[in-house]
Each structure stands twice: as structure tokens, then as C-alpha cells.
Amino acid sequence: MKQALDGIKVADFSWIGAGPWTIKYLADHGAQVIHVESATRPDLLRSTPPYKDSIPGLNRSAYFAIYNDNKYGMSLNLNHHQVMTVVKRIVAWADIVAESFGPGRMKKWGLGYEQLKEIRPDIIMFSSTQQGQTGPHRDQPGFGTQLTSLAGFTHLTGWPDRPPALPYGAYTDSIAPKFGAAAIMAALDYRRRTGKGQYLDLSQYETGCQFLAPLILDYTTSQKIANRIGNRSPYGAPHGAYPCRGGDKWCVIAIFTDKEWESLCQAMGNPPWTKEARFGSSVGRKNNQDELDKLIGGWTINFTAEEIVAKLQAAKVAAGIVETSEEVYLDPQLRHRHYFEELEHPEIGRHSYPRPGFRLSKTPSQIHLPAPCLGEHTEYVCTKILGMPDEEFVDLLNKGVFE
């Protein structure tokens, strides 16, 4: 089947979260991608759980796997004195070179943008870092796990009367790749029209700020500092998560207008308390939301989350299940759209890969190749994709270039 990016070639030197994830968007749409790592410095996500059978192993992590499907895996020791002969072939082959090391690291390896341009003048180089290539904090080490706090998300997650709770995971790692992929595609289009490559400097911090922009404007115009407000909404009540039958089970309900409120009351069977004057207007409901939350929770607890959502959606009320990591696999909507695709991985066995959040009608994303084991395709990449003579490959192999 046709793929949107058939013929696009990417040398993916990036590692861990945001970089490989950016390139996954391209790989899932047909770009040919070589994920370059080194056995002397494997991608860190290879040693981050979950692992097959909970037993660590470089080829057992699904965390690594879900960002590196549809990629060939190559091991290459960039510190080896003879590595440039291989690097030159890779760069000459590639349309795009992606990387996510600290600023300046690629240059030390002879892989800075100016150096790449000498090998391939129209190369597009994409650098994804925590805080960008310039500025006083560019060398500050860290992961998205900390950057999420620097970029303001932690302060805004949790309850106003409690210390902040964490947004799960390396939250900003989930933001940067979307911007990165859009920018890379724009650069490819620009190159197609003008023949010019370019360098793209992405700061994960700066992409994160885009997701809080209105709050930033509220500060720059009125010096207002936003705080976390639990599950409340400034624009309506009830609004939040409510307990359901069956242990730690929850549904969410969001009411903004009087009409929605009336529909909710009807779906609950119009209990007498819903007629109380204090709940009769949206201002009243907002002013009495603590009480309102308790009363609604007293209703929801009698049903499963599925039952609540079925009732409320039938009444045209915005409601949903707080899905667990198990429930997302069972979600009929996600199954209908084939969001998760299963593939057989040599060491992990059969497991699931997520697709991008969109489907192109004529060239939908396809997940066909499981993530590579460390160095799995080194020989194939060198001899079949880069056209290296067998003798040269063996010679470099014996010298340790592919470690």
C-alpha cells in the first residue's frame, strides 16, 4: 500500500523520548528510517520498564519499542576513529538527520550542521533538546520528567490545598514531537521548492510553553499567576471526577449550561435536591459546588462508570470513563480505529504499538516492523541500504566500528 512519505530517508541519531517519537510520525507514514545507536551507549529507554516478564534486558523494553517501530536499528560507535567513513555514507543517503544530544555533542563527533552540509548540502538537520541550542541553560542536563515542572505543568496539576501532583511521565516529551514533526515536514516542502536544506533548533521547553499560552498572557497583561484547581472549571459546575461502583473507578461529568444541567437532573431521575434554589443557576451551582459534587457522587457510586456514561451520553451530557491502562485496550472506540497494532517482536513477543492520533484517508499510518533489537540491522543497513561492499563492512566490523 502507498505511504505518504515513501522515498523519504531519515538518519535518526536521536534517543530516549521526544526525538525518536518525532521520527516515529515519519516512520509510520512510510519514511525509511535508520535508528543509530551504539552498543557502547544504548538508547536509555532500552533500560527503562516495562520489560517482557518484568526482566530487564536491552531488547525487552516496550518503552523503547513504542517509539521505534518501523525503524531499522544500527549500532555505530561514534567515538571510533574510523567511524566517519560510515557516517559519510549515512548522511549522503539521508534527507533528514535527527538528533537529541546535548548542544555541541554532534559537532564534537564531526556531525554538526556545517559538517553535515559539506557531505550533503541540502540536508535537513533536526535537533531536539530540553532548552535549545543557545542560552545560559542550554547545557542543563535533564529529562522531560523534570522539564515538565520547569515548563509550568506540575504547578498546575493537583489540588489547591495540597502540594502539586505530577502530570504522568515525561509530559513535555509528549508535546515536542508534534511540533517537531510539523516543522520537519515544512522544511521538506521548502527544500522541494527551493532546493535548500536547513537546521531546526527545537527546545522542548518552548514547545511546552505553547500549551499554557493563554495563562502566560494573563500574567503578562494582568500579573495573574494561575494555580491548580483540581478538576474544577472556571466556567461551570458540576465539573469533575465522580466515584463509581467497583473500587477505584471513576467517571467524569462536565456541565456548563442550564440545558445540560437539566439533562443531567433528568438522567439522575430528578431527585428532590436538584430542585433546590441554590442549584437553579450556573452561578448558584458554581457557588455550591462542594455540596453539588457530594450529591452527584452519591448518585454515581450506585453504578459502574460504563452505566453512568451510557445514561449520560444518551441524555447528551458530556461524560466519560476515567480509563485505566487496561481499559484503553478494551475501549470500543480505540478498537474501532485500530489505535493499537500488535506485532511480533523477536524478544518481547507479540505486543502493542500505538499509532499517531490521526488517520490519512488515502495513506493511513501503518505499523509493520517491530522496534529493532540493538544493532539488529547493522549489516543490512550497511550493505543493502548504504551500498557498502561486503569486504569493507567486515573490515570495519572487525575493527569495532559497529560496537
Binding site: P50, T145, T157, G180, A181, K196, A254, L334
Partner: protein, 411 residues
């Protein structure tokens, strides 16, 4: 980079960011609102806290680099005008309920007949088809359905979402990536296509490795307040620590990555007489996250916790930068605006708002390309601000025709 292309943006808040990203990258974006203005202008916060359709900071933030026209696409005349615009456009972005445009005979099929190269990007809570495609949603519903919410919050309270709505932004940015992939294919093949974006799926990405814990190990990760789960399979790590005037983010990582930063912190603590013997003696290289126990994490945490409490978040961040420690403040919006890093990178942009008589400082570019300056070229449009420019100047409608269209509430 995208200056030859035009985007028609019919979205509400669910899709603003998609066309903004294309606009930031240089595309000519026309925001199309219903006459009188889009209801999403009622989303706060508002400039100086005054609710008004021309003062929404949400509107300001996500509609820069767009011109604005009003058009009632439900009227026959409105439809005709839209079709004229579609002929000259390369992209259409919309976020109506699935089937809405089809009912108006303006669905993908109809648009494709007018302009076979058109790319239609549709952003909806659950996608165009499937059992939940017509479900009523709001941000908290799609965050809950993505699995992200279950993972966040304190164990003794309900799961929480981030207080500022995130799922529409995930979808808008995801949509921009998908739209650009479709665009590349269009430029080579001559074929447009339909990009069907699900807000639920776009947000699901933010759960990262959590679903795989179920897939591989049948483990459901649970919310743990300030602790990080999902990095070590044996224990939870504290990531948020209280300090003198707020909170900082720091995690004990083992191995080659964690060792230098842990050692640097312990050295700093020792210089103030606050490092425990155990911390000083620790061989961090051999500290294996996969096998480390909760007792080990908790044991190290005690002296670290005391040290942080004696320092402000600014002191700790500056000290961390000097020493290469993986620590940063739990920043407020004020801290972000004051951050010298963003200032040094010229991140902030002053945008003139003559209608309120001042300039407003905006977050700037999401990327720095070497061959193009990504910047805010124009503020968000006021209601119908560019009607004359587009309808008169471009479509060649006379003043009389415009007056009629206004009178009939078509524009």
C-alpha cells in the same frame, strides 16, 4: 516556509492550534467565524479580567498569524462564498461534530469535487467514525478517556487532569503534523486527502509507557501524588520535593546518567554539612533502578529532603545549573516569564494591540529554523476584521454586494 499556501480555519477551540502552527510556519491562514463571532471568544482568561468577545486571551493566544472573516456557511450564499474560497485554498481545518459538514453538503467529498487537491483536516473528540464518534465531550472527558487522568493525582482523592485544558492542544498540534504529512504527499502525487484527528488518541500519547505496563505485565499503574511511577518496576521515586518557598523537581536516577548528578548533589550537601554517610559512601554507578527497593529510595530521600527545605527554588536551580544537577523548579507562570533562558533566546514577542491601546508580551516561536524566522506577524483577528480585504479585495465583491450580505447576516 509555507508562504505559498492558504489555510481556511473553521475550527473552534478544539482545533485553533493546528492552523496557528501552519500560520507560524508561514502559511496564509483565514479564520472563518459565524457572523457576530465564534462562541469560543467567550473562553477566558480575559484581558484585564473583562469578559468580552474581543478580550479573550485564549482567542488571542491561539489565533495569531490568522486573518479573520465572518461567514454563515449554513446559508446558500454563504456556501457559495465558501466554495469560492475553497477553490483557492490548500488546507481546510474544521472541528464540527462528525457529519455536520456532510449535512450542509460541504463534507470531504463535496470539497474534494470543488478542489481535488484540498486537504481537509477534521479534529473531533473521538474521530469521524466508531461507536463514540458522536459522544458529547469536553476537555476533561477526552483526558479521562485517554487514560492520562487515571495516572495523575493523589491516591486518596479522585484522579485529576491538568487545570488548564490540554487535550485540544494535543489534538491541534498532532493535527498539524498529520496535515503536513498529507501535504507532502499531495505535492508529489497531486492528490488531496482527509486527515481524521481524534482528540482522545492525540492525548493518549501522553500516557507514554503506561499502557505497555498492562500490555506486557498486566500491571495497572496508579496515581501517586508527587511520586513517579513507571520508571522503576520495584519502587516509586519522589520527584516533587518541598523547598523553602515552593517545590522543586528532582529524581534519584541510577547508572551512568544518574551518578554524576547524584554525586554533585551529595557534594553540595556535604559542603553545607548535610550529606549522610550513606549518601557519601554510595556507589551510584551500580545503583540499579530496576532492582532498587522502596526502602533504599526512602532512605536516601531523608537527608535530601532536609537540604531542599533550607533553600529556595531559585537557589536550588542556580546551584543545580552550576553543578550539572538534574533539578529544576516547579515553576509558576511568573517563574517562566522571568526565566533568563527564554529571554536569552528571544522567546518573548511584543505584539501590538491597538484596540486595547497597548502591546502584549506573547510566547514566541516553537522552533528556530535556520532559513526562516518563525514569528508572530499579526495578532489574532477581531470579528470580521478582514471581510472587506478578502471579500472585496480578493473575491471582487462590490460594496453594495457586501452590504447585502451583511444585511442578510451571511457575513
Amino acid at each position: 516556509m509555507l508562504s505559498p499556501y492558504r489555510v481556511l480555519d473553521l475550527t473552534d477551540e478544539k482545533g485553533f492550534l493546528c492552523a496557528k502552527i501552519l500560520g507560524d510556519l508561514g502559511a496564509d491562514v483565514i479564520k472563518i467565524e459565524q457572523p457576530g463571532g465564534d462562541p469560543s471568544r467567550g473562553i477566558g482568561p480575559f484581558y484585564h479580567d473583562i469578559p468580552h468577545s474581543e478580550r479573550s486571551l485564549y482567542w488571542f493566544a491561539y489565533n495569531t498569524n490568522k486573518r479573520g472573516i465572518t461567514l454563515n456557511i449554513k446559508t446558500p450564499q454563504g456556501k457559495e462564498i465558501l466554495k469560492q474560497l475553497v477553490k483557492r485554498a490548500h488546507f481546510i481545518v474544521e472541528s464540527f461534530t462528525p457529519g455536520y459538514l456532510d449535512n450542509l453538503k460541504l463534507g470531504y467529498k463535496a470539497l474534494n469535487e470543488i478542489n481535488p487537491q484540498i486537504i481537509l483536516t477534521s479534529i473531533t473528540p473521538f474521530g469521524q467514525t466508531g461507536p463514540h464518534s458522536k459522544y458529547k465531550a469536553s476537555d476533561i472527558v477526552t483526558v479521562a478517556a485517554s487514560g492520562l487522568m487515571y495516572l495523575c493525582g493523589d491516591p486518596d482523592r479522585p484522579p485529576v487532569h491538568t487545570s488548564f485544558p490540554q487535550s485540544y492542544l494535543h489534538a491541534g498540534a498532532e493535527a498539524a503534523a498529520g496535515t503536513m504529512i498529507a501535504h507532502y504527499y499531495r505535492e508529489l502525487s497531486g492528490e488531496g486527502q482527509w486527515v481524521d484527528v481524534s482528540i482522545q488518541e492525540s492525548t493518549l500519547g501522553a500516557t507514554m509507557n503506561a499502557p505497555s505496563f498492562w500490555d506486557l505485565n498486566q500491571v495497572i499503574l496508579e496515581r501517586a501524588g508527587p511520586f513517579r511511577v513507571g520508571l522503576s518496576s520495584q519502587a516509586r521515586q519522589r520527584l516533587i520535593w518541598e523547598c523553602r518557598d515552593g517545590y522543586v523537581a528532582f529524581a534519584i536516577f541510577g547508572g551512568a546518567f544518574g551518578a554524576p548528578t547524584n554525586r554533585a548533589l551529595v557534594k553540595w550537601m556535604d559542603s553545607e554539612g548535610m550529606a549522610s554517610q550513606d549518601l557519601l559512601m554510595m556507589d551510584w554507578e551500580s545503583f540499579d533502578m530496576a532492582t532498587a527497593t522502596q526502602q533504599q529510595f526512602d532512605h536516601f530521600a531523608q537527608p535530601i529532603s532536609k537540604f531542599f527545605l533550607l533553600h529556595s527554588k531559585r537557589e536550588l536551580y542556580h546551584g543545580a545549573i552550576d553543578r550539572g544537577i538534574m533539578l529544576c523548579p516547579v515553576a509558576t507562570i511568573e517563574d517562566i516569564v522571568d526565566d533568563p533562558q527564554l529571554r536569552a533566546r528571544d522567546f518573548w514577542e511584543e505584539v501590538e494591540h491597538a484596540e486595547v491601546g497597548t502591546a502584549i508580551t506573547y510566547p514566541g516561536a516553537f522552533i528556530k529554523p535556520s532559513d526562516m524566522c518563525v514569528k508572530i506577524r499579526r495578532r489574532a483577528p477581531m470579528v470580521g476584521e478582514h471581510n472587506e480585504e478578502i471579500y472585496g479585495g480578493e473575491l471582487g465583491l462590490s460594496e453594495q454586494e457586501l452590504a447585502h450580505l451583511r444585511q442578510d447576516r451571511v457575513i
